[in-house]
């Protein structure tokens, strides 16, 4: 399936030249895995740099470098986590025994994968069982996410595998997983969210 929703070009340029922070880079990489149009754009943006790299005069190569590379590949071979539809970039961030968190909501769980201190941002792997509604909430900062499997209905927007979603600060919504398949997504969120309703009250009382 070809995604309908794409990241901004500035993200693709940042990815093409290595300027994205880790969380953003992983998000873009997850999108590129199913979006040939954006991958073509990234390769186009990197083309001049690729020409430069290709024209470099070779430096002397240490005799043992290949053996070191193969040794590292074998040492760090990654078993694919059973039952998780996640790409290699996400699988490498998962703890050996994933410690899922929740919000007192059946059918929803998440793992924090990466923390970025400067913007109080973090990257999360999120799982919603089919049909689960995530409770109403308001974003305190920017959230960007990519659907890995299944899909979400968010107001009038339908998001499916590979789609990129952006929620600006102050966005208020309650997305629902599509009814026929579990939804897996990866999300980079700045400054967290504030729930509405009783969850919001509980959140305020707990000082979060």
């Amino acid at each position: 399936m070809i995604p309908n929703q794409h990241p901004p070009e500035s993200h693709l340029l940042a990815f093409a030249v290595g300027q994205g922070e880790l969380a953003l880079r992983i998000l873009v990489e997850c999108h590129l895995a199913s979006c040939p149009a954006c991958l073509a754009q990234v390769l186009d943006l990197a083309e001049v740099g690729g020409q430069m790299l290709g024209a470099m005069p070779s430096a002397p190569v240490p005799a043992d470098l290949f053996a070191k590379v193969i040794g590292q590949i074998e040492r760090e071979a990654l078993p694919v986590p059973a039952g998780l539809p996640v790409p290699e970039a996400i699988a490498r961030l998962l703890p050996r025994k994933p410690d899922w968190s929740g919000i007192l909501l059946r059918g929803f769980r998440f793992i924090k994968l990466v923390e970025e201190a400067p913007r109080e941002a973090a990257l999360y792997l999120v799982h919603l069982t089919a049909g689960t509604v995530f409770p109403g909430h308001r974003h305190r900062g920017l959230e960007e996410s990519v659907i890995l499997a299944g899909g979400l209905e968010d107001g009038s927007t339908r998001l499916e595998a590979g789609d990129w979603a952006t929620s600006e600060a102050a966005t208020c919504h309650a997305p629902r997983a599509l009814p026929d398949e579990d939804c897996w997504l990866v999300a980079r969120m700045e400054n967290g969210i504030r729930f509405t309703g009783w969850r919001g009250l509980a959140q305020r009382l707990s000082g979060q």
């Binding site: 895995a33 991958l39 790299l53 290949f66």
Partner: protein, 193 residues
């Protein structure tokens, strides 16, 4: 995923077959986790990667260690490359720069003063493609400084966007838009599609 028992010595007959492949087909074979293809790929690109990281890095971190990480990343991610969508060198450029910046961030590497050594990029004498090296140097020289400087620092060189903005005393968004504009100009000069 791996096949530790495979013979990857230069005498392996498969290597000669892969040696006849173009870079696109070779990288696609690496994406199928073919170790013989990876050996040929390594022979073709390791020297250039070492040279590139040396030019880009100015000694922020050990070049050989970085290139080892880059080659491991290429092995792991090669299946993501699509030969019909762009050149292997462009994909390798992207993988390399992402890995280099990751390592620098992880090691809190401190930026040294001075410009990236672009003379090494544009010096045609030892390059396998001297025509390209000359034309890239000329194309860069033909850009207005406000486009050339952020390109040299952030696209070819080792400065983050933030470092480039501070160095050039312009807003972050201006750095990004000038890189984009400069890149378009550069591609026109070079005759890229």
């Amino acid at each position: 995923m791996t096949n530790p028992g495979i013979d990857i010595s230069p005498a392996s007959p498969g290597l000669h077959g892969y040696g006849r492949l173009g870079d696109r087909e070779l990288l696609e074979a690496v994406g199928r986790q073919d170790r013989e293809a990876f050996r040929v790929f390594y022979d073709r690109f390791a020297g250039r990667l070492l040279a590139y990281v040396q030019v880009m890095g100015k000694g922020r971190i050990a070049t050989e260690d970085v290139v080892q990480e880059v080659l491991v990343a290429i092995w792991r991610k090669a299946a993501q490359y699509r030969a019909d969508l762009g050149s292997p060198e462009a994909w390798i450029f992207t993988i390399t720069r992402n890995k280099v910046f990751d390592i620098w961030r992880a090691n809190s590497a401190v930026l040294e003063d001075g410009d990236p050594n672009l003379e090494a990029v544009t010096d045609p004498t030892p390059a396998p493609d001297p025509t390209l090296a000359v034309s890239l140097g000329k194309a860069l020289a033909g850009l207005p400084p406000e486009q050339r400087d952020p390109l040299i620092l952030s696209y070819f060189g080792d400065h983050t966007y933030e470092e480039t903005a501070r160095r050039l005393k312009v807003p972050l968004g201006t750095v990004k838009s000038r890189i984009r504009a400069g890149l378009s100009q550069l591609k026109q000069h070079l005759g890229s599609p």
